[in-house]
């Protein structure tokens, strides 16, 4: 009997996601453990394995469509087995993560008999209040990925449309003179003449490509001999078309705007003298114990957060709650995005454990192996751009937190030490805090606490 393949719920907070790539086609043989598809959640891209063996009989949800978790996306069964053309309703019960399995597959006649019961949305689905469909077949709650809103419907005659298409121009820019402003062929021809269309020079391949991608060649600047439009110019115009941001970027965008609009940021910068720390780190390395500068920064932040609980808190503007544990977020840049894996209860870890966890999470982040639950619930974040050769920067607070520390590159600079100019390695750190609960003086004390810890090598000798 055919088994349904569902869109898995891979984290406590995961509500929806999109299949970015099917690795099997309809009709492909599937073994247990084969990767069926890759999904994109608001946190990460993940591979989903098959729990069944057989043939992928049907794909319901094509690539790029966002669906709620537990949506039926396909069927696996014996070759030739019949499956419904329309997918059955999403599984109501959340499947155990990360199982792509459903307890029981529907039979070949899946349509529920009673229309009213048919489109019952799954509880986890953030679907609009479903109006009962008149048809007995259940439609999945599918939300197409947000696309640019289509332009107002154009009133144009078929001849005029064909004429515009043959000329590779966008008829929307033409003013119609027909009844109700309808664009007729004469309008297109007049427009082409007014736009000096005949003087336009374009290579045959470029024109073919423009037609293929519906690019208005009047809007393209030619780079060839005498301003001739070349294939490269059309490709450049093609790249100017709006592209839907990845789920990850959309989430980043939403959260950053939310942060900047609702959290009054206050910034304070200090420079830590890490000369001695660097020497100590080199000593450790010579002994075969390898720590990154970031490990020391993280530990200094953890210790300081214990001293300043208000920075490890969150406010809604009316109440303030201490977060208790230091769940330390660590910003890691990944391809076309940023993820913040979380080191849980970081105050309980030794420096060696911290180093191991930070390293493992960063590696998972870079290889796209982080699970959604590993990226939520941080109480304070460190963003380290030390490797990026920057003097100083300010970071945006993660909503739900009271602060973020932006760490820059350590540089050798002439510094006054005991009245003498010395070459010292200085590292700028800028703290961003939620001014609603952290006042300037507290922010200053907090960031100075981090600084003094980094500058205190005796402390590190005790900690390693």
């Amino acid at each position: 009997m055919a088994q349904v393949v569902i869109f898995p719920k891979l984290g406590q907070t995961m509500e929806e996601g999109a299949i970015v790539k099917w690795l099997k086609k309809e009709g492909d043989a599937v073994a247990k453990g084969d990767i069926l598809f890759e999904i994109e959640t608001d946190k990460a891209n993940l591979e989903v394995e098959s729990f069944f063996e057989g043939v992928l009989l049907k794909i319901y949800v094509r690539e790029g469509i966002t669906v709620p978790v537990n949506t039926v996306v396909g069927f696996i069964g014996a070759a030739g087995e019949k499956v419904p053309d329309q997918p059955p309703a999403p599984e109501a019960a959340p499947a155990p993560a990360p199982a792509a399995a459903a307890p029981e597959a529907p039979t070949a006649s899946p349509a529920p008999a009673v229309p009213a019961a048919a489109p019952a949305p799954a509880p986890v689905a953030p679907a609009p209040a479903a109006t009962p469909a008149p048809q007995p077949s259940a439609k999945p709650v599918v939300q197409p990925a947000p696309a640019p809103t289509p332009a107002k419907r154009l009133v144009i005659s078929p001849r005029a449309r064909a004429c515009a298409r043959a000329a590779c121009i966008d008829p929307a820019r033409i003013k119609g003179t027909g009844p109700n402003g309808r664009i007729v062929e004469k309008d297109v021809l007049a427009f082409l003449s007014a736009a000096n269309y005949d003087a336009l020079r374009i290579t045959p391949a470029a024109k073919r490509l423009a037609a293929e991608h519906e690019i208005d060649i009047l809007s393209v600047r030619g780079s060839g001999d005498g301003g001739r439009i070349m294939v490269e110019d059309i490709e450049r115009a093609q790249r100017r078309k709006p592209v839907t941001l990845s789920r990850m970027r959309q989430i980043i965008a939403r959260r950053l705007v939310e942060s900047k609009q609702t959290i009054p940021h206050f910034y304070v910068t200090v420079k830590a003298d890490i000369t001695d720390l660097m020497a100590f780190r080199a000593d450790l390395k010579a002994q075969g114990r390898s720590y990154s500068v970031n490990d020391f920064v993280l530990e200094a932040v953890i210790l300081s957060l214990e001293e300043f609980p208000v920075v490890n808190s969150v406010t809604d503007g009316v109440t303030v709650s201490w977060r208790g544990d230091v769940d330390l977020g660590m910003a890691v840049s990944v391809d076309n995005g940023l993820v913040v894996p979380v080191i849980r209860a970081a105050q309980t870890l030794t420096l060696a454990e911290l180093n191991a966890q930070a390293k493992a999470l960063a590696e998972k982040a870079r290889t796209g192996k982080l699970l959604p639950d590993e990226m939520v619930g941080s109480s304070f974040t460190v963003s380290n751009m030390g490797m990026m050769n920057v003097d100083q920067f300010t970071a945006i607070i993660n909503p739900g937190e009271a602060g973020i520390l932006a760490v820059s590159t350590g540089r050798q600079v002439p510094t006054v030490v005991n009245g003498e100019i010395k070459i010292r390695t200085m590292m700028a750190m800028t703290l961003s805090v939620d001014h609603r609960i952290v006042d300037g003086s507290v922010g200053a004390q907090f960031v100075n606490a981090i600084r003094s810890k980094l500058e205190n090598v005796e402390l590190w000798k005790a900690l390693v």
């Binding site: 290579t203 045959p204 391949a205 470029a206 073919r208 490509l209 293929e212 070349m230 294939v231």
Partner: protein, 461 residues
């Protein structure tokens, strides 16, 4: 103030056009040449080899035309006369270049140049006197030389292509190290004149820049001409003993009277003292430049064989030279992307633009449109039915992205393809262009029709 607006170092096919173009644009220009005007191309490359190949082909046709109803008995050749004719052609062309430079008011200076600073060079002239020159812009066009790897014995029986061209007689048995373009051209020429040729190539096949179908035609024909190919392993333990050169290929000993070394070319950058001008050179000794030929030093350009990633062809260098001269006066010219290559083997080969092999490497989807000469009237009439033309096209738009042709007159036929590719024509424009009948060039039109399965002169597939 500088002595000149523009100084060009090297008077080969990259340098002299650069100098002439700079002079045309009103610049006070000098050109420095250490050896022979016209450079490698004219003196020891394109021109002399093609002159000898012309002689070899004459002989071959004279001796093998029975099928055409022409029988010539006792056809012989005199290699000494062939080389004399070659020397004469070279001399006339070289004189022509000096005349062109003079008529454009370019000061020609003989001697070896080296940089003394970003705008200054010294030239050691043949009389031993050093001349110091300065210029606002310097264009480096010093070319390349045959690479002679250190493991080869230093002996007069082991030579590069340049020395080979000075031979007064051909050897009976010729061993060629390197199955690239140069190795194969010399192999064809010598084989046509009766020399027993063996080509050893370390890579899996000869002339790997060609698509496999093209290589297959060439290899088959060259083998029919008597050339032996030993590919996929190096020639090791090369020694000169008892008047012959021998080496080991796999477990086999191969011998020859001479060893022609054709394993690539080295840029002539070391002697220029580029560091004194601050010009960056990469680990292979070539100079990285932008799309106008400008080096990391804004007032210094480089063109031709010594440029990083250069295609090492005379006509590529010429175009780069002209662009560099124009860039020197502030024009926006840029180096062309489409450069046809011609290989004067027997049969000839022409290629331009994207190859099938490259497309595969790039992961780019292409569709080919092929027409064999055996289906062409003119090819049949001329007895030249080996080979084919091939378009490499975008499968959606039909744009011709590349072309390869192997067969008679391929080096002339590729010109049409280069024009079509550069101007981004599709198979439709080519198919709709009337091509004269009966000619070899009809093959391009016929091949273009096959893209839409609309070829009249091939059986239905």
């Amino acid at each position: 103030m500088f002595d000149f607006d523009v100084i060009v170092i090297g008077a080969g096919p990259g340098g002299y056009p650069a100098a002439i173009r700079a002079a045309q644009l009103g610049k006070k220009t000098a050109i420095v040449e250490k050896e022979a005007f016209g450079g490698t191309c004219l003196n020891w490359g394109c021109i002399p080899t093609k002159t000898l190949i012309a002689s070899a082909e004459r002989f071959h046709h004279a001796a093998h035309s029975e099928a055409f109803g022409v029988t010539a008995k006792g056809v012989t050749f005199d290699y000494a006369v062939m080389t004399e004719r070659k020397n004469d052609v070279v001399k006339r062309l070289s004189g022509g270049i000096q005349g062109l430079l003079k008529s454009n008011g370019v000061e020609a200076i003989t001697g070896a140049a080296r940089f003394e600073g970003p705008n200054r060079i010294s030239v050691i002239q043949p009389d031993g006197v050093t001349r110091w020159l300065s210029a606002a812009t310097i264009i480096i066009a010093a070319g390349s030389d045959s690479a002679m790897p250190g493991f080869l014995p230093k002996d007069k029986r082991v030579m590069d292509s340049r020395a080979f061209l000075d031979l007064k007689a051909l050897p009976e048995r010729l061993l060629i190290l390197g199955g690239g373009v140069i190795g194969c051209e010399f192999a064809c020429m010598a084989a046509a004149l009766g020399t027993k040729v063996t080509v050893v190539e370390m890579l899996e096949d000869i002339i790997m820049v060609l698509d496999r179908d093209v290589r297959r035609v060439l290899r088959k024909r060259m083998e029919a001409l008597g050339v032996t190919f030993l590919t996929g392993a190096p020639l090791t333990d090369i020694v000169v003993k008892n008047g012959e050169v021998s080496g080991t290929y796999k477990d086999q000993t191969v011998t020859g009277d001479l060893l022609l070394v054709a394993v690539g070319r080295r840029p002539n950058t070391a002697a220029l003292d580029l560091a004194r001008a601050g010009v960056n050179v990469d680990e292979r000794g070539t100079i990285p430049v932008d799309k106008q030929g400008r080096t990391n030093v804004a007032s210094i350009f480089a063109v031709g064989d010594l440029v990083t990633g250069s295609i090492q062809l005379a006509h590529a260098a010429t175009q780069q030279g002209v662009v560099a001269a124009e860039a020197a006066v502030g024009m926006k010219s840029t180096v062309e992307n489409i450069c046809p290559s011609c290989i004067f083997t027997s049969p000839e080969i022409g290629l331009a633009g994207l190859s099938e092999t490259q497309a595969q490497k790039l992961g780019r989807d292409v569709k080919t449109a092929v027409f064999p000469f055996v289906a062409l009237g003119k090819a049949m009439a001329a007895g030249e039915t080996d080979g084919f033309v091939k378009w490499i096209c975008d499968p959606v738009t039909g744009q011709v992205l590349g072309a390869q042709v192997v067969g008679a007159h391929a080096t002339e036929l590729i010109a049409e393809a280069a024009l079509a590719i550069r101007n981004e024509l599709t198979v439709d424009e080519i198919g709709n262009t009337i091509h004269s009948h009966p000619t070899m060039s009809e093959a391009w039109m016929e091949a273009a029709h096959t893209f839409h399965n609309a070829c009249i002169h091939l059986p239905k597939r």
